[in-house]
């Protein structure tokens, strides 16, 4: 009996901290719940953003690839001018921009997610794989 009670004591010492950690994690997740869900459908060679207007704050961006090719998605604040293009003339110069969020290579039929905090303003979303932006893969999002 003594051995059993000792064993139960040790079990309590192990289990309680684990439960505490799990509980904290849950609380943290709840505190960062996105306000908006932005669905982005990408396909060769088009981007559809739904909805096109969301409130500012936390948002979750879900990118679904409906096309046959692999795509990516980069979110940048809109500028007055066109997005800068690299010297190759085929891709946007990302280094000249500040990407709010990036979803790397989403495979065909694949889904990519990212959470981001969006301040009010206009945002541009585009795929920067070689020629994709030029082929028409870009869209807009209004926040606020």
């Amino acid at each position: 009996m003594r051995r059993l009670s000792s064993w139960l004591g040790r079990l309590t010492l192990v289990v309680l901290p684990v439960l505490a950690v799990v509980g904290c994690a849950e609380a943290d997740t709840v505190s960062r719940a996105p306000n908006s869900l932005i669905r982005v459908s990408v396909k060769d060679f088009r981007i559809v953003v739904t909805p096109g207007h969301i409130p500012a704050g936390e948002a979750e961006l879900v990118v679904t690839n409906h096309g046959p090719d692999t795509h990516e998605l980069i979110v940048v604040r809109s500028r007055r001018s066109h997005l800068p293009v690299r010297l190759d003339g085929l891709t946007v110069d990302e280094e000249a921009l500040h990407a709010v969020a990036t979803v790397e290579g989403v495979a065909p039929k694949g889904v990519g997610r990212v959470r981001l905090h969006l301040a009010p303003g206009r945002y541009e979303l585009f795929c920067n794989m070689a020629g994709h932006f030029m082929a028409g893969m870009h869209g807009n999002l209004v926040v606020g």
Partner: protein, 784 residues
């Protein structure tokens, strides 16, 4: 149907799991090899696809350069590059041969793409190639590129045709690269799957190996336990002999000799072997053979046990290195064999060698005599009067007597001589290295030994013996010697019994004749060479025929008409008289019945038949007589049996049996007559007690009745005696009127003889009976 738990040491227990494990191994190996080959092949193909897909990127960029250079007048052929691009795109999607790129690589054979994602990417790539090349062609032809229809859904708004071309090339390049990546990642996944599969299979194989090892160990332990239990609990004895002596003994051996295993190993086992068998065991140990040996081992009780061992040479077996003896204790069997052998060659009553062993020893003695030139002697001894002892005192007494005689014979002979009992009261003696004089002395000692009285069943009994002797220097044959001794023995019997006779060729000749006649008698009986003659019996007062005496006749095809005096003694000696007597009775009865049916004889007419002492003593006479009477439908009163007085007055069981038989027949109504009366030595007083109707006075007295007063007186007294006892008197051999007259004067009742009629065949008797019913006296017949 074996049940679970049965003791089956040699069954396939444990084999099934081992087989299952091995099959699992085989299945794992097959899956492993097949999956490896399949994955490798697919990887090889995908590598080709990746190579071609990656090449498309280079070709797209090269195409753009060539178009631009061509516009500036350079000697390039963008259309060729476009065709390679298009053909490669087709081959990538639907399979086929991707064309070579000069100076770069060779043509590549591809299969149709099967993966849906890949097919979608390659389809897009093909559309982009079309858009690219169409745009390039428009540019080369100085046509408006904006009007080139786009099939890959791209929305190109730029005005610059070159940029438009480059964007399309970039899209083509990009999608080709992505297709290659998809394929590569698919290959990676397959390889990862293969790695996982091989890992799982490897782990399963390891587990199966452990299981297999475990199962094998279990099976081996089980089998070992079975064999150990078989050997330790078996009554068979197992010994392994090696160069250094005994290497192993089973528990049954240690139990039998009550020694520890350590004591028996090495030289310990040999110390218990019989010295005579040591060589055989050592030979088997040294040579590995012969396959079977028998040897003796001293057991705890100090008995020599016979072991029959199967020898197995396992000297070359690494784990044995010796000769294995699998032995069984066959002591009881050998004892039984010895007992049976003794019984087969010895007489159970006296323990003496029997005829077979005697013959064997005789053959050996003959061989020795032939080498040494010394004489051997065979003595055949038949006890005289033994039958009477057996009959009168019983078989137990007879057996005691035979045992005593055997003991005396053994006492007389030398150690090297052989005394044997052939059966009944017949003994044989084999003497080696003897002279005739010594043999005679031996024979005399045997006779003296037999003659000494023996107390059996409260009576003092003295026997005689008839001994036949044959001497031989080793030139004869065993069978012949015994036969010759037999002949000599019968000669001794004929010579008066209680003596010995040494064989001489004359005896053989006589015996041969006897055997010849016996054979012919048997044949004659089968061939119907025997017949009956009848001699009438006359009532002397009236001279009427009142009966006939049936007399046997033999008409031999080789010897002619053989007189009864020649063949009856032989028939008596050989026992054929029984068959002949039965024949006579049957024939006489049938003939008498025929005469009665023909009305030739009166109801009181008697047919007389002679019966021998052997028939009387045989015990079957009553049956034979009744059978003959029934067969002929005759009343018993018309049959008469003539017996000799010696047969009736004989002592012992045979005599008693004869008298009882005659009494029964007499009560039945059969007539009884004493034949040749006056010639025997019977006590006249005994006649009163015998069932007799008639006495027949011997012809020798009758024929002297006229001239010899003594014969006349004897004849007259015999007739008177018969009348005094109330019997009928018959005179035999009446040949003259004077004899007839004398007999009539003596008051003799009946007579027979040549004066009246000779013995004659039945048909002549029939005629005689028909013509001379009342009077028969024929002076002419008497003269003839």
């Amino acid at each position: 149907m074996p049940r679970r738990g049965d003791f089956r040491p040699f069954a396939a227990r444990g084999r099934r799991p081992i087989l299952a494990i091995l099959l699992t191994f085989a299945a794992f190996s097959t899956v492993s090899v097949v999956s490896s080959i399949s994955t490798t092949k697919r990887s090889q193909h995908r590598a080709s696809v990746v190579e071609v897909a990656a090449r498309q990127r280079t070709l797209a960029e090269r195409y753009v350069k060539e178009v631009l250079l061509a516009r500036e007048g350079a000697r390039v052929d963008p259309r060729f590059t476009a065709s390679i691009l298009a053909r490669s795109a087709d081959a990538l999607l639907d399979g086929g041969t991707a064309p070579p790129v000069y100076g770069d690589d060779d043509e590549t054979k591809l299969s149709s793409a099967t993966d849906a994602t890949l097919r979608a990417q390659l389809g897009q790539e093909r559309r982009l190639v079309v858009d690219l090349t169409n745009t390039g062609n428009a540019l080369l032809a100085n046509r408006s590129v904006a009007r080139v229809p786009l099939t890959a859904h791209e929305r190109l708004r730029m005005k610059d045709p070159v940029l438009r071309l480059r964007v399309l090339a970039a899209l083509t390049s990009n999608v080709s690269l992505n297709a290659a990546r998809t394929l590569a990642s698919s290959t990676d996944r397959n390889i990862n799957h293969l790695i996982v599969l091989q890992t799982v299979l490897g782990a399963a194989g390891l587990l199966a190996s452990l299981l297999l090892g475990w199962a094998l160990i279990l099976a081996t332990r089980r089998q070992t336990a079975h064999f150990r239990s078989l050997i330790t609990s078996s009554t068979d004895l197992v010994v392994v002999l090696g160069t250094e002596g005994c290497r192993y003994v089973s528990r049954s051996v240690t139990r039998m000799v009550d020694r520890g295993e350590a004591e028996l190993l090495g030289d310990g086992f040999e110390a218990l072997l019989h010295s005579e068998d040591l060589a055989a065991v050592r030979s088997a140990s040294g040579c590995g053979g012969p396959p079977e040996i028998v040897f003796r081992v001293l057991n705890t009780a100090g008995e020599w046990r016979h072991l029959e061992a199967h020898v197995t040479d396992l000297r070359q077996e690494r784990w044995v290195r010796g000769v294995v003896l699998n032995a069984r204790d066959v002591t009881e069997r050998i004892k039984l064999e010895e007992q049976l052998t003794h019984q087969a060659f010895h007489d159970s009553l006296t323990g003496l060698p029997n005829r077979s062993l005697f013959r064997d020893r005789l053959d050996q003695a003959l061989a020795r005599a032939k080498r040494s030139g010394e004489f051997i002697a065979v003595l055949l001894i038949d006890l005289d009067g033994f039958k009477q002892v057996n009959d009168s005192l019983g078989h137990d007494a007879g057996d005691q007597l035979l045992s005593e005689v055997a003991r005396r014979f053994k006492h007389v002979v030398r150690e090297s001589d052989t005394v044997a009992r052939f059966g009944g009261d017949e003994f044989a003696l084999l003497l080696e290295c003897v002279t005739e004089r010594e043999v005679m002395a031996f024979a005399q000692r045997l006779l003296d030994g037999v003659a000494e009285t023996v107390a059996i069943a409260g009576r003092e009994i003295s026997l005689g013996a008839s001994i036949g002797i044959v001497l031989d220097p080793g030139s004869g044959h065993g069978e012949e010697l015994v036969r010759d001794a037999d002949v000599a023995m019968y000669a001794a019997k004929d010579a008066g019994r209680g003596r010995y006779e040494i064989f001489c060729p004359e005896m053989a000749r006589k015996a041969g004749e006897l055997l010849g006649v016996e054979h012919e008698l048997r044949l004659g009986l089968q061939r119907g060479e025997f017949g009956l003659h009848y001699q009438p019996e006359i009532e002397l007062a009236t001279e009427r025929i009142v009966g006939v005496e049936a007399l046997l006749r033999w008409q031999s095809p080789t010897r002619g008409s053989v007189p009864p005096a020649r063949f009856i003694p032989i028939a008596e000696a050989t026992g054929l008289i029984l068959l002949l007597g039965e024949f006579v009775l049957r024939e006489a009865c049938l003939q008498a019945a025929e005469w009665r049916r023909a009305g030739l004889v009166a109801d009181s007419f008697v047919t007389w038949v002679n019966v021998s002492a052997k028939q009387l003593g045989n015990g079957t006479l009553g049956t034979v007589v009744r059978s003959a009477l029934e067969a002929a439908s005759l009343p018993p009163s018309v049959l008469g049996l003539e017996v000799t007085e010696t047969a009736v007055v004989e002592d012992g069981i045979a005599g008693e049996r004869a008298r009882a038989e005659l009494t029964k027949l007499h009560r039945l109504g059969v007539r009884i007559a004493i034949d040749d009366f006056g010639t025997g030595f019977s006590s006249l007083g005994q006649l009163r007690h015998f069932p007799i109707d008639m006495i027949k006075v011997d012809g020798s007295f009758v024929q002297g009745a006229v001239d010899d007063p003594k014969d006349a007186a004897i004849t007259a007294n015999l007739v008177n005696l018969a009348h005094a006892l109330g019997l009928v008197a018959v005179a035999e051999g009446i040949e003259s009127e004077g004899q007839l007259s004398s007999l009539q004067d003596f008051g003799c009742d009946l007579g027979q003889g040549y004066l009246f009629a000779r013995p004659m065949p039945a048909d002549q008797i029939s005629e005689l009976l028909a013509t001379h019913r009342t009077e028969l006296v024929d002076p002419d017949a008497a003269v003839a």
